[in-house]
């Protein structure tokens, strides 16, 4: 799947499947989670935002890991497609991180009483958002696209190394300052009736990511290779 024309042909077959699977998983997971799963004895129905919040928080982080892996491949092997992948994944990851933050504060208002708490997890998610913004800002500042890819790859490698340190230091910072008066979802273990739909939602969100990433990537490939013959052949016929 390395070369752009090969990827283009290969991805056009896979796209409908990804879309259909994503719709199936999301419909099942959200329907189950929002309507069938039992009401939380403590939080009531408010907790159901978890079925959007948790998957998007997971995606926000794992998309960054994905990008850093792409960045490493791009820097070491100069694989063109991995640079494009990195570029196409960035806005998706940033959106998921933003969704996680917004749904989190919407959830926080009724349960904690405030929109925002300087909790370790919230803080490191906010920092992750800033790192996404830095990557996208760097990309948009460089005109030459392959150069921009490599610049962003280099920065994402730094991000990969520094994100564990950020998590750890935010944890220390959290314990250093007053322990938060609120605790994140104090119920330590979730009941399986609540957990199973969440799992479906997470898989659904991953599929949505794969789907949108492939769409973005196809656009990127066509945009960059527009002067090549294979693109002309596709669009002329």
């Amino acid at each position: 799947m390395g070369s752009p024309p090969l990827f283009y042909r290969w991805s056009s077959k896979i796209i409908p499947w990804l879309g259909i699977l994503a719709i199936i998983f999301l419909t099942l997971g959200l329907f189950w989670g929002l309507l069938i799963a039992p009401t939380d004895y403590k939080q009531g129905d408010v907790y159901r935002i978890l079925y959007v919040h948790v998957p998007s928080a997971i995606l926000g982080q794992s998309i960054f890991m994905f990008m850093a892996a792409c960045g490493l491949i791009n820097v070491v092997w100069r694989a063109k497609i991995s640079g494009m992948m990195l570029k196409s994944a960035a806005p998706i990851g940033m959106s998921f991180t933003l969704i996680a933050l917004v749904t989190g504060s919407v959830w926080g208002k009724p349960t904690w009483g405030t929109w925002w708490v300087w909790d370790a997890r919230l803080t490191s998610t906010l920092i992750l958002l800033f790192i996404y913004a830095a990557l996208i800002g760097l990309y948009s500042s460089i005109d030459d696209k392959t150069k921009a890819d490599r610049a962003v790859s280099i920065l994402s490698i730094v991000g990969l190394a520094i994100i564990p340190v950020i998590k750890k230091s935010v944890d220390w910072w959290q314990t250093l300052h007053q322990p938060s008066t609120f605790t994140l979802t104090s119920s330590p273990s979730m009941s399986p009736e609540m957990y199973q739909p969440l799992l479906l939602c997470v898989i659904g969100f991953y599929l949505i990511f794969a789907f949108t990433l492939t769409l973005n990537l196809r656009n990127e490939v066509i945009d960059r290779e527009r002067s090549k013959n294979w693109v002309k052949q596709i669009f002329v016929n």
């Binding site: 920092i127 920065l155 730094v158 950020i166």
Partner: protein, 243 residues
Amino acid sequence: MLLQGTDLQILTQPLLRFDMRSSVLDWLGIILKRDLIIAFRRSSTYITPLVFFLIVITFFPLALGPQESLLSSLAPGVIWIAALLASLLAVESIFSEDFRDGSLDDFFVSLEPSFILVFAKVMVHWLITGLPILIASSLAAIILYLPLESFVPMILSLLLGTSFMSLLGALGAALSLGKSAILSAIIVLPFSIPTLLMGTSVVTFSLNNQDYSGFLMMMGAMLAIGIPMLCLLTVEALLLNYD
């Protein structure tokens, strides 16, 4: 003609020395000397960050009020934020001048390791921004009523932290070479958060008479990993301009 010839010789002398397969340390020394001479010929390079640092420090008592208890409890954070911002101020100049006048090209075509070049540039940047800030921070600590016992941890944490910031700053400068200075700051700032958190923790812990050595070790570890990794990535970033 003759005069022109000798002039030319003086100008190319350092370049001739590059060709002799000098040891890595010689090469480091040559760049350090060259860049420090350039920096000291223009006093604004090392005075601007220093003055900026002190002005930012002065703004906090003006904005928050002069109460001693308030200021001394805020001092670690205030000093650290001012130090971070001041060390990012001159970041853009690390490579831009050499890139514009072509000396960077010469450095790269010389057969010497470019890793050393970047390392020397980082050292020079630290010497002209980090070191003045380090010295000025004692003054800032007095202004902000930081207790005397916290001076040593503050200096130690700033020593490690500003060095790491110079490394990160060099990468930001290399990535945004020829672009606006503010871009390199935006690129670098999110990655400087662990340094900020750990640096302020060191000073705050010492204020509360707690053991802060763990944070210092962590910052030292970041520096030890950062020197090889960030210098190599900076070389990679600089080479983007020579495709």
